[in-house]
């Protein structure tokens, strides 16, 4: 469990836009342990989905490393620099489940074809019968009835579609799965069913997950550790309980206080952030949260804070995290 599995070093992803460089992911470093779920939260445009895609190289990073531990020895392979041949092998180890079950499935393929696709393109089974068996067993694993194999995505509900997406990502027996908002488009009851499924799968096959979401209570439910992102950077990273009970970064504090709770008589101070998230295009070289932070001082507007370990296993990027703690 505590064994390091992925190490991300100074990962950057910039997009060229007409108004300048958009810093979608800006110098992010962290590690993921084998078999854990790392939650990645933040608001829209904070770069969490881009980061998730860079981790499995669906997007090429601008610079930095994503080191994935080899299966057989203690060495690492840098996904960002893998050759096309190495990448083909890596595709079997790293996978992704997409957010929108309505648009991530080709509407012209049947359920069977959709789930078989990763097997076909990677030539996993030469024998047709064997493949049929494999697809059936994948459908069973994710809880899809066999009678649905000839259906088309538009005939199914969101929950079932997301199950197809999950089955596709499991088809190649991966070790690491990026879950990009897998339940955001689903109703609460279906959401609970899918969360339980993901949980059961992890227990059975010991997958390592990165769970990207904007829904904090969902992230808390599934994650072992949580990273909070703001404008392309990780501002806080901690074990999940501690993050919720003892948030150190002012942004995390505001984020947590903003969750509407389905309970009455909860005493809490609501921190309403002023204004909107600033533009990620050519951000200033300073603390990116300074403009909305109620504790901001001069230093925040001139020097960007580094992500430091304030408590054991609890990192935060704030100049005043220590003072706040005291």
């Amino acid at each position: 469990m505590s064994e390091e599995y992925i190490r991300v070093e100074n990962l950057k992803k910039y997009f060229a836009t007409k108004r300048g460089m958009l810093h979608a992911v800006d110098d992010v470093s962290f590690t993921i342990k084998k078999g854990e779920t790392l939650g990645l939260v933040g608001e829209s445009g904070c770069g969490k989905s881009t980061l998730g895609r860079c981790l499995i190289r669906l997007l090429d990073s601008t610079s930095g490393k994503v080191l994935l531990k080899n299966d057989n020895d203690d060495g690492y392979i840098d996904i960002t620099k893998a050759s096309p041949r190495e990448m083909k092998a890596l595709r079997k180890r790293v996978q992704i489940v997409f957010q929108d079950p309505y648009s991530c499935l080709n509407p012209r393929l049947s359920v069977w074809e959709l789930i078989a696709e990763p097997l076909i393109v990677n030539n996993v089974h030469s024998d047709k019968n064997e493949m049929r068996k494999r697809v059936r067993s994948l459908m069973e694993t994710v809880g899809l009835a066999e009678r649905l194999e000839n259906s088309y995505p538009h005939e199914l509900d969101g929950g079932r579609r997301q199950r197809i997406g999950i089955a596709r990502s499991l088809a190649l027996n991966p070790e690491f799965i990026v879950l990009d908002e897998p339940v955001s488009a689903l109703d609460v009851c279906i959401q609970a069913q899918i969360l339980n499924l993901l949980n059961d799968l992890q227990r059975e096959f010991s997958y390592t997950y990165v769970f990207i979401s904007h829904n904090l209570s969902v992230v808390r439910h599934v994650s072992d550790r949580i990273a909070v992102m703001y404008l392309g950077q990780i501002v806080e990273l901690s074990e999940y309980k501690e993050l919720f009970s003892d948030p150190l970064h002012p942004y995390t504090q505001a984020l947590l206080s903003a969750i509407p709770l389905a309970k009455l008589d909860v005493q809490r101070e609501r921190i309403i952030l002023e204004g909107d998230v600033p533009s990620p295009i050519e951000p200033p070289n300073a603390c990116r949260f300074a403009g909305r932070c109620r504790y901001a001082k001069d230093i925040c507007r001139t020097t960007p804070p580094a992500l430091k370990e304030i408590l054991p296993g609890h990192f935060t990027a704030c100049h005043f995290a220590k003072e706040q703690k005291q």
Partner: protein, 328 residues
């Protein structure tokens, strides 16, 4: 307290290729003056259809209001002519839509959009309307300098503020908000909810808030109606519903939301899916998914029963248990 809105036995169907969609089926609901009602349910439960029904904006075809009455201020809206309805819409009943990105006209400055609403319903000159528009923008927390801006110059949260300003421009008696914060980020959602709470006190309008988020309801509503498969299955004031939900569906709904303070390994789920609205199950529409269902449930459609003053649920079995003080 007199009822401003009284919906009786409302049934709305959509006629489609594969049959009749029973979107709303014999719905009863009342709303008092100045009250705010949270209207909770999953996708396809019929929340939006009910709201559009009140506005008489059901797309026809394929939709049709089959039967029922919508009594608003003592008059049945279903008897009104289209011209009369146009007067009511916007002036007496206003609606806020889910997506602020698409509910504003992109080629019109925001002050003009608000002024348009005002001059449609009030006898004011153009310059007066524009001045009122500026006032409305200030009220929702947008500086007057920005009144000549186009929608695309605003962020999502600001756009939703503009939408709210338009809805409140004519001081409506009833405001229907359809998932007003679903498209927004958490911190922006908090801003908008704070604003709505504030405005709720300033304007004494009644409000129907359609949402799937029990957290938002807890924050700004007085009453809650839980909807399932085209019917209200539970209706109560917020306090009694949140402290002791009665209907099995409501209880399942509460349990399937992950808790922010507690660890659970496995989320309790309601098994199965929402029923197909083209052929709803007989009797209680929830019975195929209900762990307590008996043969009776498949036969008889349960009526709403009062379990305690002001707390109604459409499950005679659970109501009886509750009244006997047994655990649910």
């Amino acid at each position: 307290m007199d009822n401003m809105l009284d919906i009786r036995n409302l049934t709305i169907h959509y006629e489609v290729e594969s049959g009749t969609v029973h979107a709303v089926e014999g719905l009863n609901l009342t709303l008092g003056r100045g009250e705010s009602l949270g209207f909770v349910g999953e996708t396809g439960a019929g929340k939006t259809t009910t709201a559009l029904g009140i506005m008489r904006l059901i797309p026809n075809p394929p939709g049709k209001i089959k039967s029922g009455e919508i009594i608003f201020d003592g008059e049945n809206l279903l008897d009104k002519s289209e011209a009369e309805m146009r007067k009511i819409r916007g002036e007496k009943i206003a609606m806020i839509f889910q997506d602020p990105m698409t509910s504003l006209n992109p080629v019109m400055t925001v002050d003009k959009q608000i002024a348009e609403m005002i001059s449609l319903h009030k006898k004011v000159t153009k310059s007066e309307a524009l001045k009122l528009a500026g006032d409305m923008l200030e009220l929702v927390g947008i500086r007057r300098e920005r009144m000549h801006d186009y929608p695309h110059q605003f962020s999502g949260g600001m756009k939703q503020r503009v939408v709210i300003a338009i809805a409140l421009a004519c001081d409506p008696e009833l405001l229907i908000a359809d998932e007003p914060t679903t498209a927004l980020d958490v911190t922006i959602q908090a801003q908008v909810l704070e604003l709505m709470k504030e405005l709720k006190q300033k304007f004494s309008a009644s409000m129907i808030l359609i949402t799937h988020d029990l957290g938002i309801v807890a924050e700004i509503c007085d009453k809650v109606a839980i909807m399932y498969a085209g019917r209200v299955v539970e209706y109560a004031d917020k306090r009694s519903l949140y402290s002791h939900p009665i209907h099995p569906y409501t209880r399942g709904l509460f349990r399937s939301v992950p808790d922010i303070d507690e660890d659970v390994d496995e989320l309790p789920v309601i098994p199965g899916l929402m029923p197909d609205p083209v052929n709803l199950p007989s009797g209680c529409a929830f019975h195929p998914r209900c762990s307590m269902a008996t043969e009776e449930c498949a036969k008889v459609r349960p009526e709403m029963q009062e379990a305690e003053p002001g707390h109604f649920a459409a499950c005679p079995f659970c109501v009886k248990k509750f009244m006997n003080g047994e655990a649910l």
